[in-house]
Symmetry: D2
Amino acid sequence: MIVIMKPGVTTSQMSNVIARIEQMGCQTHISEGEERTIIGIIGNGRPLDREQIQRMAGVDRTVPILRPFKLASRDFHPQDTVVKVNGVAIGGRQLAVMAGPCAVESTDQLLETARAVKEAGAHMLRGGAFKPRTSPYSFQGMGEEGLKILAAARQETGLPVVTEVMEPQMVPLVSAYADVLQIGARNMQNYSLLHAVGEAQRPVLLKRGMMCTIEELLMAAEYILSHGNDRVALCERGIRTFERYTRNTLDISAVPLLKQLSHLPVIVDPSHGTGRWELVEAVSRAAVAAGADGLLIEVHPRPEEAVSDGAQSLKPARFAALMEGLRPIAEAVGRTL
Amino acid sequence: MIVIMKPGVTTSQMSNVIARIEQMGCQTHISEGEERTIIGIIGNGRPLDREQIQRMAGVDRTVPILRPFKLASRDFHPQDTVVKVNGVAIGGRQLAVMAGPCAVESTDQLLETARAVKEAGAHMLRGGAFKPRTSPYSFQGMGEEGLKILAAARQETGLPVVTEVMEPQMVPLVSAYADVLQIGARNMQNYSLLHAVGEAQRPVLLKRGMMCTIEELLMAAEYILSHGNDRVALCERGIRTFERYTRNTLDISAVPLLKQLSHLPVIVDPSHGTGRWELVEAVSRAAVAAGADGLLIEVHPRPEEAVSDGAQSLKPARFAALMEGLRPIAEAVGRTL
Amino acid sequence: MIVIMKPGVTTSQMSNVIARIEQMGCQTHISEGEERTIIGIIGNGRPLDREQIQRMAGVDRTVPILRPFKLASRDFHPQDTVVKVNGVAIGGRQLAVMAGPCAVESTDQLLETARAVKEAGAHMLRGGAFKPRTSPYSFQGMGEEGLKILAAARQETGLPVVTEVMEPQMVPLVSAYADVLQIGARNMQNYSLLHAVGEAQRPVLLKRGMMCTIEELLMAAEYILSHGNDRVALCERGIRTFERYTRNTLDISAVPLLKQLSHLPVIVDPSHGTGRWELVEAVSRAAVAAGADGLLIEVHPRPEEAVSDGAQSLKPARFAALMEGLRPIAEAVGRTL
Amino acid sequence: MIVIMKPGVTTSQMSNVIARIEQMGCQTHISEGEERTIIGIIGNGRPLDREQIQRMAGVDRTVPILRPFKLASRDFHPQDTVVKVNGVAIGGRQLAVMAGPCAVESTDQLLETARAVKEAGAHMLRGGAFKPRTSPYSFQGMGEEGLKILAAARQETGLPVVTEVMEPQMVPLVSAYADVLQIGARNMQNYSLLHAVGEAQRPVLLKRGMMCTIEELLMAAEYILSHGNDRVALCERGIRTFERYTRNTLDISAVPLLKQLSHLPVIVDPSHGTGRWELVEAVSRAAVAAGADGLLIEVHPRPEEAVSDGAQSLKPARFAALMEGLRPIAEAVGRTL
């Protein structure tokens, strides 16, 4: 960390800051410029609390030198992490496409969708049994009944199941049925939940919060990793901006940036990222071209009857066409579908 | 709800949409313009699922007519709600100022702060025992030990205690010590938690998420109200924008807007709203002038030693000066301090 | 337009609103719901001023039915517009790649770059002679001298020249040297400038403002089109968000969305869109995969000596590798490079 | 400036960076930490180009130490600047309230408004003769005719006139009629225009762009100051965020922050800042309480007939009531109205 002092800092202010830093077990290195004095902190390997220094008299600003995430960083773990899920790999040469309805609505609806996405080449089945909904009056998901239907669909199709878990005490229940625990965007900074899935024996799909930075996403991953679970896949699903024609603004640069900063695989969700089914195919192609390790796509046999997110769901035939169109893009970037 | 059809909509598309609306128990009212046909939906009193209609063939867009919140709306409850907390009223003529440290660090630190803020005229004591922290390596709060210290400070000073609860199963424990349950910004859309505090017998201070709209804040309040708890105070604490000199951008218009849309009291948090202690006094004055029912302010006896958010904490003497400066503003808008 | 009345609207308020609408030459269509009365306006073909109606007593909100842009919309002009520039087509089957330095710095620097990008397969040469800089103390461009150097580079390489024009009275001067007039992001809503290039006899490359919606971009294009210039290409170059690891957030969904809403060609600028050269290649691939008609890429022979935007400029060898990598992606989406 | 090197930087990379810095006429100061090497740059008093260093091999990041603005900074000019305008002072003990219609529509409309706002206590008259409008089909202002009407209203009421200038070559014309040249939000980074008003002999009201940071606002002021015009007032008028109930989000913290960073007076525009007349009074009070030096408020005798921004305009009686309500707030913060 670097400490930039205010113009006109006094000797006693300097001494206090230096004393505090040394008290934290670190050494200092003073650099006097013409206009400002700067104190470099030579660390003891442990993260320092910037705020404490920042608030001392005579200090103008502090500047961190190191990124705050460690276990999630590529510096710490240079090789790509490949998350293995019941025979499917997320982060390998083959892309991992997870498809299915936003919410599990019935056995028929889910099985019909599962068969269709498997036929089209999807590698995993997604579907929500517990649904975070903006309104308390909207459908909140089928709960455990939905989990059972997901398990039945896996049984029939062989597709591993990705589904959301919304609270810490539900982790054991959801883990009993699901192959991958999804952390939704609204829960990306629900630290109790991150702690709980960090202790679970299941891979985690961690969605970026709609107003969270790349650094915060990696810090959320760090929570999970630091509690012992190293099977984490990151998911870019759009951030909230001023633009109103789309539901969110998908941050395509996040894909190469996350791959540079971290060893964890990166999935893109073009359905939530755009909120409009007409844009899902083009954005799916872009994601693969940018280096994503997989996609999370909403598919519903009759979107106009969907209880949730119908506007962004593809019909099975469109999904099959999307998969076909992805194949040459995947090849162009050295991947398979 | 209004349904705007695409140009060139066919008769069979029109029939399908009308049939679906009637199937939902509603009536339709067709209006044919020169360029577009519009279908008005005359409801049955229950909210409709816009997305289902929106996804039907021939439909361009749907437009909601009514606001999605009810129990939280002023239309439903025209009088101001006054939330009573152990002898303190939030939302009455007297402002409610809640002050204290970001985190409870020790008995000494908390008692020293509690005495100072009481002396300066604060009405309630704030302090976190469970802390949501961006980094898993930062101090996560003292837990139940912190709750006990808060209760001891209440015992001595008589100030009711506001403290954060972070997960549903902790609600009983925190309720055993706290007078007001605080829902933090990161948990504003943690629906399991909203459900749990909705069933608790404690007032709730609901902080706006940094990525959440006014409408979403009111929908979060609606969750709590709809589960039976009508003692909810809303808190504007800044939203995330592109501006980098402040930690968040405090949305001052939210104060009069929330007072118009809702009957619930509105508190402003200038400490998180700015992230810089030098701005807290000016923004506190602005909040009271804009009609806020109270303030939530971070005070720490030695901010440069605070384990969390020192940069935005006031020293007791500054807090006392702030309270003095607020008095004439409060009077100017017909309130007392 | 639809007018949604407040609950409890009076008969005389209704009459006033209807009278005003009829005074504007339009007809009304009343729809009385259980909770709200709605007035549909059947137009006379001319756009109505929403604000006037919105402000009348008894009116809650107004909702526009039609998009505000016409000449720029695909409804008005269903076929793709192909902008022809000195033998290069923007918007045809072949992609149009425009490459070159941020700023023209010298004859040597520009010629060296122009030869290199031509060799690598670029179709046009970009370079700024007039530079909008955040600081009055930064290099502001070489001015007319820079334009002459650009013209000399075109003479040698045959590459048409794209360069920025910053004020209305400079349009004739810049047009005397440039093949395409670029409107920079900060000038997207400089209406005097849009008017001036609308009357020029040169194609225009219109960059999206960093704070502007898709609708506002199309309205800016509408300004140019409505003044008689129909050779306009749109350029997505990233919008401003809270994310700090990248300079802007490139809105990849804007590509398919603009292609749906408008007939104008769409160019992507991955250099400004990311602000980091390491991300330019991945984002270029994404843009082509998403359906962009071309790219605008910063290339500098020695980025560490660039007077502007060195951090986002590619070296010639990286640019050549990028072009190679784009070829299979272009083919995968039915385009050529 | 500080240069943070990458882990594993080589000796030759270090030498190159140091050589480049010395070539720029500066000295270096090396600090070797356990994980990173840092180079402090001891300047020659001139600003350095960060980007050039940032792009060199071995460099991770550069961190500026000094703020990029000088003439606008309070460090440079510790006393408050008071801008004098025809007998009215902006930035003194007395607040400066500028009121009037968004656009000049006719002699009658303007004179009626001017008399009313003068009667209510306004100090200056605002009104647009040249209007930047999102749509080319909207009313673009009365032009010079509007300027003449403004001058006539000044003649009758004695109120100095504030009006917008949109392009460099119009500066002489507008200066011939107006007392204060307003730079609109969309033109805050129109550098040619900033240059032109910097050379004019008229005070300037500089509005913050809706997606511009505080630092960029101060850099825009720096443009004007550096061209010789030191009569500049800054105006916070709301920034663009994701919130949809208001037109913009007024950044109230900008008021005390600008007063700390700069000596220039700060005006608040609650009309554009909210976009809704119902919120204007509360936000005006907040602005004064936060320390603003004045207000810019839209007033129209018949807002429902306004050709522009009727939804945010106050009727004269509401404006008079607002002024009454402001008086005690102004007194509470030691100001007069």
